[in-house]
Symmetry: C2
Amino acid sequence: MTAPTPNKASILLAHGSSDPNWLAPFETLLQRIRGELTDSARVELAYMELAQPSMEHSIQQLAEQGFQVIDVLPLFFAAGRHLRKDVPAMLNELQQRLASSGKQLTLELHQPIGLEPEMASAISQVVVRKLS
Amino acid sequence: MTAPTPNKASILLAHGSSDPNWLAPFETLLQRIRGELTDSARVELAYMELAQPSMEHSIQQLAEQGFQVIDVLPLFFAAGRHLRKDVPAMLNELQQRLASSGKQLTLELHQPIGLEPEMASAISQVVVRKLS
C-alpha cells in the first residue's frame, strides 16, 4: 500500500433516499472502509440526492480544507442516466464554480463499483447461497 | 445442494432504468447465476419499474406455468421506500388478483442482497483496492 497523496480525498457516492433505513447500511460501510484503510486517506460518504451530506456540499468542504484531487466512487450497481449524465453535469458545474473562486480541483468520477469483478462474484454467491 | 422444489421459482428483482447501459450488467449477472446453479432451479430477472420484464409480468407468467412459490430477491443495496412499501404493495395486489382467478401463490420477499455479509465485504474490498 502506497502512502496517500496528501492533497487527495475520496467520496463514496450513494444515490440517497429520504428513508433513514436505506441510508444506515452505507454509514456502516463507511466506518468499515475507514477501518480497513491502513493509511490516513480521507474518505467521505455523500449522496447524489434526497439525503445529506450532498455530493456538492462534501466536495466544497474538501476543497475549502485544501484537497485538490477528489476521487468519486459511485456505490451504484450500474451506470444509467444518473452516472452518465446527471453526476458528470453536477461535477462539471461545481468544478467551474470553484475555479471561479480560485479553487482548482481535479475531480475523477470512477465507474460504479457494481461493475467491478468482486461485486459480480459476491452477488452470484449470495443468490446461489439463498437459492440452494 | 438440495434438489429444487418443483413448483418453486425465483425472481432477481432490480430497480430498473430506461437506460439500456444500466440494464446490461444485470443480464450478464443472470446468465452467470444460471450457470452457477447446478440444479434446474428456475430463475428470472425482472424490474420494479422503467424496464421490461416487469416484476408483475414475470410473476404472472410463472403462475401461469404452474409455479406456486416464488422467492423475490431484490438486487438493491438497502431497503428504503421501494422495498418497504412499494414492492410489498405490488406483491400483495398481485397475489390477491391471482387468487381471485384461482391461482394461489406464495410470494416471499427477501431482504435486499446489499445487506448480506458477502456484499459488504465485496464493497469494502473494491473501495480499499481503488483507494490504495
